[in-house]
């Protein structure tokens, strides 16, 4: 008479090991999202990171052969290299983008110079910049949540103001929902008492 009872290692696990792997990835993704989107790494981030780490450990314990294959297998060797190279390449592309963005190279192609100063305005503002008796001016531009595109367009004009006035006119943009009081920002060289 043969023994019909399956051995422990042949029994199908109540929770398949790859569920743990999915949980680990989900936890790490949530933690990363919290890191990127929140000002501080909140309890949600720590919780997700903990769950992700525990799920990863659980997967290694539940399927040690799979874990070993992932680390030492052919897929890991080539795939791991490929993944690292891709990640490095993408980071390099992001760095190039951030560098170019920082250079602030812009041009107004419109025939009527819609987003730049007219010759007359340019002369008047250059005069303000050259006069040492005039105080410096700070322009404040307020934009609502849906006006980011408008802000991009106006940036060209405001930068033109700042450049033509040789830095005497400065500007900054703020969200119209920004709760910080306006009196904290120095306007036209005057400060609140």
């Amino acid at each position: 008479m043969t023994d019909q009872t399956p051995k422990m290692d042949e029994q199908e696990a109540f929770i398949p090991p790859y569920y743990m792997l999915i949980l680990a990835v989900a936890g790490l993704v949530v933690a990363l999202a919290v890191l990127v989107t929140q000002p501080t790494f909140t309890v949600v981030g720590w919780g997700a990171l903990g769950i992700g780490a525990l799920a990863l450990v659980a997967w290694v314990l539940m399927a040690p052969d799979q874990a070993k294959a992932v680390i030492t297998g052919r897929t890991a060797r080539f795939g791991g290299t490929s993944l690292v190279v891709t990640a490095v390449f993408i980071v390099a592309l992001i760095a190039i983008y951030v560098f170019i963005r920082g250079q602030n190279w812009r041009a107004d192609l419109t025939e009527r110079d819609t987003f730049s100063l007219t010759t007359e305005s340019r002369q008047a503002i250059a005069g303000i910049g050259a006069d040492p008796n005039l105080p410096s001016v700070k322009l404040l531009a307020f934009y609502g949540a849906s006006q980011a595109g408008r802000r991009d367009q106006d940036t060209l004009l405001f930068d033109d103001y700042a450049q033509t006035s040789a830095g005497k006119i400065r500007w900054c943009s703020r969200s119209s929902s920004d709760p910080s009081p306006i009196s904290y920002i120095p306007l036209s060289g005057t400060r609140p008492r």
Binding site: P39, T75, F78, G79, I96, Q103, F115, A148
Partner: protein
């Protein structure tokens, strides 16, 4: 270089023999024509009333209508043009044969990308007719038109490169098209998502990042209105390079995948 050109020539010829490519061109031009006609009729009626008060002319919204509509339609055009590119080669097993030819994966992918981008360029150039029509009813701003067309051209390149990733991932053309359309739509709507995030006190920090990631933030307010920013050009070019690099890595996995 000759390997890239060989793939490019073969793929471009396939586009001009493919019924899907003609169907895409027909649908796009029909849709654009109807909308352009309606918009122009409205604009002319408006300009006549303004001219009676001493104003008039062609507005910026008329000028970038065709490029803006094409960029919106890219979530349909992109997947339809690219779904076949790599998925079909993989399904029919011809990709293995191509991999034995004296060229690497990058040359193969770049050749295919240049072919689909060239076909898209032809479609885009066909819409220049609308700009010529506008010159008959007013004095259009050539700078705005140039910016809008340059933007639409780069935008299209970026979208096509992104769609190629999904064509390399799956052997099923329909799945590739759906995944591509979803990805492009998410990138198109990132600006809308950023607006929603700005309203949320906890996620406001992410709004700028999400907006910057989207396609429209680099086209709608700037290039489409004649503002050329280096960051916008860089975004589209780097997006193309990044997407093509990922596609190449995916195709390369065939060499060592079990």
């Amino acid at each position: 270089m000759s390997a890239i050109f060989a793939v490019f020539k073969r793929e471009l010829a396939l586009y001009f023999r493919s019924p899907i490519a003609y169907a895409v061109a027909f649908a796009m031009l029909l849709f654009l024509g109807i909308l352009f006609n309606g918009n122009l009729a409205q604009s002319v009626a408006f300009n006549v009333s303004v001219a009676q008060q001493g104003g008039g002319g062609v507005t910026a919204s008329d000028l970038n209508l065709a490029p803006a509509l094409i960029t919106f339609l890219m979530f349909l055009i992109g997947p339809l043009l690219t779904m076949r590119l790599l998925a079909e080669e993989a399904r029919e097993g011809t990709i293995e044969v191509l991999m034995t030819l004296p060229m690497n994966e990058a040359q193969f992918i770049i050749g295919k990308f240049l072919a689909v981008w060239s076909y898209y360029t032809v479609l885009l150039l066909l819409t220049v007719i609308y700009h010529l029509i506008l010159t008959l009813v007013g004095v259009p701003d050539a700078g705005v038109a140039f910016g809008a067309y340059l933007g639409a051209w780069l935008y299209g390149g970026a979208v096509l490169a992104i769609c190629m990733i999904w064509s390399a991932v799956t052997e099923d053309q329909i799945v590739a098209a759906f995944l591509s359309a979803a990805t492009v739509l998410v990138l198109y709507l990132a600006e809308v998502a950023a607006v929603s995030l700005t309203g949320s006190p906890t996620l406001a920090n992410a709004a700028g990042f999400v907006r910057e990631l989207g396609l429209q933030a680099h086209f709608g307010a700037t290039l489409a209105n004649g503002i050329i920013r280096a960051e916008d050009i860089a975004y589209f070019v780097l997006m193309m390079i990044g997407a093509l690099f990922i596609t190449t890595r995916i195709v390369e996995t065939r060499r060592w995948r079990a």
